[in-house]
Subunit: 411 residues, 2 copies
Amino acid sequence: MANNMLIGQSGGPTVAINASLAGAIKRAMKSPQIGEIYGTLNGLEGVLGQRIIDLRKDLRSVEDFQRLQATPAMALGSCRFKLPEQPDETYEKILETFHRYGIGYFFYIGGNDSMDTVKKLSAYFESKGETIRCVGIPKTIDNDLPCTDHTPGFGSAAKYIATCVAEIVCDSEVYDIPSVTIVEIMGRNAGWLTAASVLARRENCTAPHLIYLPEAPFDPKRFLDRLRDLGRTTKHIVVAVSEGVRLPNGEYVATAKSGATDAFGHRYLAGVGKFLEDLVRERIGCKVRSVELNVLQRSASHLYSGTDIREAYRIGAEAVSFALSGKTGVMAVLHRISNHPYLVSYEYAGIGEVANLEKRVPREWIAPSGCDVGEELVEYLRPLILGEAKEMAADGVPVYFAFDKTPVAPK
Amino acid sequence: MANNMLIGQSGGPTVAINASLAGAIKRAMKSPQIGEIYGTLNGLEGVLGQRIIDLRKDLRSVEDFQRLQATPAMALGSCRFKLPEQPDETYEKILETFHRYGIGYFFYIGGNDSMDTVKKLSAYFESKGETIRCVGIPKTIDNDLPCTDHTPGFGSAAKYIATCVAEIVCDSEVYDIPSVTIVEIMGRNAGWLTAASVLARRENCTAPHLIYLPEAPFDPKRFLDRLRDLGRTTKHIVVAVSEGVRLPNGEYVATAKSGATDAFGHRYLAGVGKFLEDLVRERIGCKVRSVELNVLQRSASHLYSGTDIREAYRIGAEAVSFALSGKTGVMAVLHRISNHPYLVSYEYAGIGEVANLEKRVPREWIAPSGCDVGEELVEYLRPLILGEAKEMAADGVPVYFAFDKTPVAPK
């Protein structure tokens, strides 16, 4: 039986995806059943284009592994590649490459779409009588994969958001005039990231005062009423809003076109933060600004969560163990055992229960008002951001790990 | 002689301004010549509105001082208040408050405008035969104050920019298709902050590939030509651009209205990053995005520069010593003695040489091409970002210091 391993990354970057890569490689290195350890560049694209590299070669020391874990984005590169529904010549080409490289174990680190790939390939290999084992390793900052308590990558993004919102709150308070600050946070359909802004609250700091997730309808009129109410007691109001909030009719707020909600009479192309900023300026008239937390939400490795990186590393390692014990067509998952103390176990779920499905924030975890999160959600979030990043800087900037990306022929 | 001290903060926030406050208070506490230590809330507004607090009260332990140093924005609040050119009743009111509180030493931490206040007040007090000593303590992320080698607050902003650009570079490389990423950086007239993006370069990483400061004219046609040239050898191009870059005719690029440079035929209200993004999409047609580094450039205390915070603390302390030795109408400054090892001394400069003047990047520190920085500038920047932030987190988010802001009557 073929006993080499191939691993790839797919979908959008997270701060933790290289930690899962490191964990999988490390476990594989310790497993006598596994021969060569290959990586595919840009996910399936590398399989199809024969851009396959040797992963043992560059990872020689403990420090190499530590650096890889703390390197943002994706050390193997990514792709947005969806396999056709029915097996075709693309599937055949993939299998051919797997045969050439003697691949017996395949790992794909990614989100919903990547799990779709794991599902399709594992079914295809089985239908061909192949014993190649395919295991998915979850990652996404959006935390929207089902079957797992949370996804690696989410905790670091949540910590980044909590910290930056806390800093923006301080920044919003310097002048002695009433102000509204709107922070726009990623998450088109799921509000997990925006919910994490609640962790900026602390003793003597009730900001952010309003938190809007896409799971609850957003009514601009009620939003303005709430701001006016709050304004009576609070000089500096901070609002956290998901980019994906929608009007009661289901339309995205940021593209609302008509009616009382739109002060402009035309399609609005900027994000929801800018839209609400203009709305507040027009209707309330106080000092107002919006801040869009940008791509750093998914790539700010300097502010990773220690818990997140540790779990991402471990789930990568466990995925290898699952494959070695014969599992295929599964995704490794995190199961939360308890909050006090915070404990998780590493399990797996059938890939059919995961692929293409989306886990959103339960409505009962959002405050009845629709503009705050409930205590259950806070409890859920709290442990995920614990643990500070370790200093890995040289000359004041972080040091990253990079693989030699020269493709290798099968050994 | 009145021997109480009053200190205030003014202008925009920086990560280091509270460190200067901490340093000044600490030195004052150790000085038997100084009686009460007062702070004014929101700068001169607090003096005029009798919102003066007791600073000794809340700072009891070494830990309090450490927290204050690492707290972003301004612990005393700020204002944008410009004194009239000629002394009037506002000046009289200020002097009256100083008399009531027995103020003999006044410190103002701020940028150009705040130094204008120090200049006017010190001249006014002198003209009235008062012995009140007024000393300015510099801060600004823009690094545009003359007479000082650099300004406290700049090093931390520079470190934030270098780190985030390094992370954005990683993020820009994940997909195997040609792309241009434009990072817009603060600095309306001076390019120091944008120049700091160069520190993201390292072994095997030549990004950012193009760096545009406001001190060199920006020609959109040449910019596109350079992108096309670079595109032949570089798949993922990263551009750092100052919000303040201007066309050869002196107009801001982001508001350019006509001619070959504008693909839209109307006044463009978004920032220069968005403008260049649209230009590249229209004229080159490759994948392109822009990232605006937002207000976190001035408030991300989680990523402060150790050097910056140390210097900010010390310059606050030295300002107190200057006042005690009889100086007035001066600003404390940093003088760089050497780069290897990096050494500075703390001096002072006449406030007339500082107030309302702007220090820009010398043209000879910019590459002749106008789209990169020179080695001298890199040497200048390097030491300012050294030293990592100390862990001051609880529950995964930073812990901040806050004063009790209840005004006190004169003692």
